[in-house]
Amino acid sequence: MSELGVGRPTKRRAGSAVGGLPVADSRPVLDGDAVLGSRCTVCRYPTAQQHLPWCPVCYGATEPARFARTGKTWSSTVVAIPVGTRRPPFGLAYVDLDDGPRVLAHLDEPAVLALGTRLEITGTDDGDLVATTEVQ
């Protein structure tokens, strides 16, 4: 059974991290003191996505936007399995940015945080947003 596929074509896997071809990076971008994204000029809906055809909420025009790096934890977990090139354990959190979108960030220390814990996006790690518990 372990001989299956040896010397023959194997199925495609997406992403350079797992042996496939590289793809465009869709992750939110940190630029200095802001997370980049877009905001609707009509209803003000914020999103970490860019190049949208229109606002997905009201169909108004969107414009590039800069969002605060600070926000609160919607939920968090510690992943205990390897994912791509990531070695466990690593912490992940959904962060509701202040006046901005919900973004996925890696925690600088793997831990499960109380809901609502204040976090600050402090940098990136190979393109992933990295969040740190905000110093009060």
Binding site: M1, G5, G15, T77, V78, V79, L97, L115
Partner: protein
């Protein structure tokens, strides 16, 4: 509008079969479904296939062995709901008189792609940031722990219940032993709070169904409702955890079509890829109020001898999860249950059954798609 009926079902076994051809898995399921429906293959006038991980042209490669040439045929992909999305299209086609007899097939062979968890989709923001599917469900679970005080024991009770049921399912992938709550909690951590025994295995398999009109056969099952919804934005404005709203939208449509309440459902097969998934799904279906879904398994309400058995087959947690085939496996179990053919798994009350399949993982959406269908016996 014509009444759509379920004429027959069939499945392969579920497990890791990397040395089998994808077609072989499918043919096993199709042969059983055709025999179960009591039809000749040339009565089939359309084929709809649900599959996520291909290969490209999988439907034609399967058709090669069936001798059903030239009929309309297509493949749909809606993540874990691909099989039931294909079924939904068949139901709609029969309802509108487009076809008289449709072969629905769900198939996937995961063992030749992944050795463990599905590798996240690299083109997606969350996938690129290394969020695996158990991690996404873990974020749901932690939100529930923080918001509603769901305990680790309540989560583990889902795994114990479904793995107990799975012991009586000869087609299930995992049926060695039934773990205790403590053993579930002590198994290795995958993504906090979800341990190994709270995650379904990735699997190979196929499921098939024959959907047609009312041919006056009393053993056919009445399709009272079939509803499919795609995802909606899931963002910081939502009060729901990821996935909840898409299931709720499909459920509302299905109960409306059937003219039934959640309390009238006798037996359910729902998407328990991870323990938290069953809890959230049962709340979204209206079987439990929000925040109370975790009490259903420990109280016995959803056990096989309970008031509303959920996943009597053992669910995805026992059967395994060949994405495109999962919905069809759920449908087959409900068909067997409603007809009283489930053997040692048979539930006591089996007049009305429900299948829910939820597929997702695309960042920022509350799911890729969800299908809810309600079936009943004619007695």
């Amino acid at each position: 509008m014509n009444q759509a009926m379920l004429w027959g079902v069939g499945t392969s076994s579920y497990g890791r079969f990397p040395d089998q051809r994808v077609e072989s898995l499918a043919w096993t399921a199709v042969a059983e479904a055709v025999q179960d429906a009591g039809i000749r293959p040339d009565e089939i006038d359309a084929i709809i296939v649900g599959s996520v991980f291909g290969p490209p042209g999988v439907a034609t490669r399967i058709q090669r062995g069936l001798g059903i040439p030239s009929v309309p045929m297509w493949t749909v992909e809606n993540a874990c709901a691909s099989g039931t999305a294909a079924y939904h299209e068949a139901v709609e086609a029969v309802r509108h008189g487009r076809f008289k007899c449709v072969l629905v097939l769900g198939v996937d062979q995961m063992s030749t792609l992944f050795s463990g968890a599905i590798v996240p989709e690299a083109t997606d923001p969350e996938g690129a940031a290394s969020l695996p599917l158990p991690g996404l469900y873990a974020l749901q679970a932690q939100r529930y722990v923080g918001e509603f005080g769901v305990t680790p024991e309540q989560l583990a009770a889902i795994a114990v219940k479904n793995k107990t049921n799975g012991m009586d399912n000869p087609r299930a992938q995992l049926r060695d032993t039934v773990p205790t709550v403590q053993e579930v909690l002590d198994s290795r951590m995958i993504a906090e709070p979800l341990t190994f025994l709270q995650c379904c295995p990735t699997s190979d398999g196929a499921g098939a169904a024959i959907v047609g009109g009312d041919r006056g056969d009393r053993s056919d099952l009445r399709i009272e409702a079939s509803a499919m919804v795609s995802g909606a934005l899931w963002d910081q404005r939502s009060e729901d955890v990821w996935g909840f709203a898409s299931v709720a939208r499909a459920a509302e449509k299905a109960f409306d079509q059937a003219g039934r309440t959640p309390q009238e459902i006798d037996v359910l097969e729902v998407h328990d890829a991870f323990t938290i998934g069953e809890i959230i799904t049962l709340e979204a279906l209206g079987i439990a109020p929000r925040g109370k879904g975790a009490e259903l398994a420990p109280s016995g309400h959803t056990t096989r001898d309970g008031a509303q058995p959920v996943n009597p087959s053992g669910g995805l947690l026992s059967r395994g999860h060949p994405l495109g085939a999962t919905g069809m496996a759920q449908l087959a179990e409900i068909a067997w249950q409603l007809r009283g053919q489930a053997g040692p798994r048979q539930v006591a009350r089996h007049r009305v059954g429900l299948v829910e399949t939820m597929g997702g993982g695309a960042a920022g959406m509350d799911g890729n798609a969800c299908v809810v269908t309600i079936l009943s016996t004619q007695s």
